[in-house]
Symmetry: C2
Subunit: 275 residues, 2 copies
């Protein structure tokens, strides 16, 4: 199976429409129809149920969609990591904007002091984006936060575990308390994070993209949020953090794709484990 065929199939399966898929792929519709037919013939499996009104996935088609996406990511990753390796040594670390700042700084300092350390390009992004970057080769290692982030398919090492606090504007009724329980927080409209598909769940809270943005909303008095204790780091004084004693504990882990434990990534991971 060629990646071209896979890309074509994934486009049609996602659009559920040959015309739109062809447009997205930048080709005409007839060659796309033919390519899918040929793929079906080669696999000996019907992938799509087509009527003139709708295109639906068969069981086999659904399997090929998920497996094919993973395969295309792997191919993209191979290409990206090779390109990066060609321009010179160096690794890309991705972390959530505004999270684990202190830990990240310590890690980078410690690694830089290591003999044979290479350049570390730090990328900051919103949650749920990290997994994607690690999977398609735009990043080599990530700092993830269990149980929020999925570590599925990656190797990981635990770094720190911490409790969570409610971050809220000074003056908020709950800000005077010395500690809280989840039940106390139930009435507070919590911010809504993007779903893996980029949309937002329904609810009363504000839509936020990253922790920096959230922090600003909190200090403006327009949001309150339960976050790991370490978000207290660098807090401005008009925001108060009150520990939520029964909130799930958050573990910061360092994650990397299991097959690509390069020298540099291994060094960085070893370094992180010593912190």
């Amino acid at each position: 199976m060629e990646t071209r065929e896979l890309r074509y199939f994934v486009a049609v399966a996602e659009e559920r429409h040959f015309g739109r898929a062809a447009e997205r792929l930048g080709i005409a519709q007839p060659p796309l129809s033919r390519a899918i037919q040929q793929l079906e013939r080669r696999l000996g499996a019907r992938l799509l149920d087509r009527t003139t009104r709708e295109v639906a996935l068969t069981e086999a088609g659904a399997v090929l969609l998920t497996e094919g996406r993973a395969a295309l990511d792997a191919v993209d990753a191979a290409e990206r990591r090779t390109r990066r390796a060609a321009v010179g040594p160096g690794i890309v670390l991705v972390s959530k904007a505004g999270a684990s700042e202190e830990l990240l700084a310590k890690l980078l300092d410690a690694y830089a002091a290591e003999p044979g350390a290479v350049e570390v390009d730090v990328q900051l992004c919103g949650p749920a984006q990290q997994e994607r970057l690690l999977r398609d080769g735009r990043a080599d290692v990530a700092l993830l936060h269990c149980p929020f982030d999925s570590t599925a398919g990656f190797d990981t090492d635990d770094l720190t575990t911490e409790g969570q606090s409610l971050f809220l504007p000074a003056g908020h009724p709950l800000s005077a308390r010395s500690e809280l329980r989840m039940a106390d927080v139930a009435g507070v409209p919590l911010p809504r994070w993007p779903l893996p598909d980029g949309g937002y769940p329904d609810g009363p809270g504000p839509e936020v993209r990253d922790t920096m943005q959230l922090r600003q909303l909190v200090s403006l008095g327009r949001a309150a949020a339960v976050l790991p204790d370490s978000a207290r780091h660098g807090l401005v004084d008009d925001v108060v953090a009150v520990p939520v004693v029964d909130a799930p504990r958050v573990t910061t882990v360092i994650a990397w794709p299991p097959h690509s434990r390069s020298r540099a990534v291994a060094d960085l991971v070893r370094c992180a484990a010593r912190l």
Copy 2:
């Protein structure tokens, strides 16, 4: 990047010889040379240092070799799983021959009683082969044994944890002891298991491929081995198992590729977790 190009590159990188690689691929040498040149041009990266006497990998080439192998496995997996999904529902479970027999039987019984259970094709193979099968799509779930098997890149659920015993022929000097420590076992030549590449490490013990084979060698008085306690199950009476109290504990886990948690696999995993 097309899978054809990747297959070509991996062949050359593994053979370190264009002629042999071409032969392996079933094409002539000139088109292979051209394809690699074209790949290098498209990636903007030199992948191989070639002289007339030897072909060596560059840094970028080494990256593409490992990443490319993973990507090709993912593509093969997509194709195989789609083909299987097309012939009908059903999943392939792979376990080590002669290991976790009781657990496996219970699991299969429990799952078969589940509503909506599909056929489970059980494959038995030697250790280190399972990972490969799971990775290239010939299997959907596996029973692995930590810390012997690597679970890198898979999702897992722990099933059971047990100690290990020394299995040895009745009449062996150590067979009278009621328990042992690792130090007692140090002098016993242990069997050698295949390495991931199919070869065997050097040493005094016999070469074995799977637990069944080992069991037979033990009962013939030609081997002794430290194995999980559950290997005691179905033991013939001329073999004695003596607990090794300080041997590392073995955890049997059920593992599956994280992206392909199909209905059937999810059911099986849930079923396993309840055992």
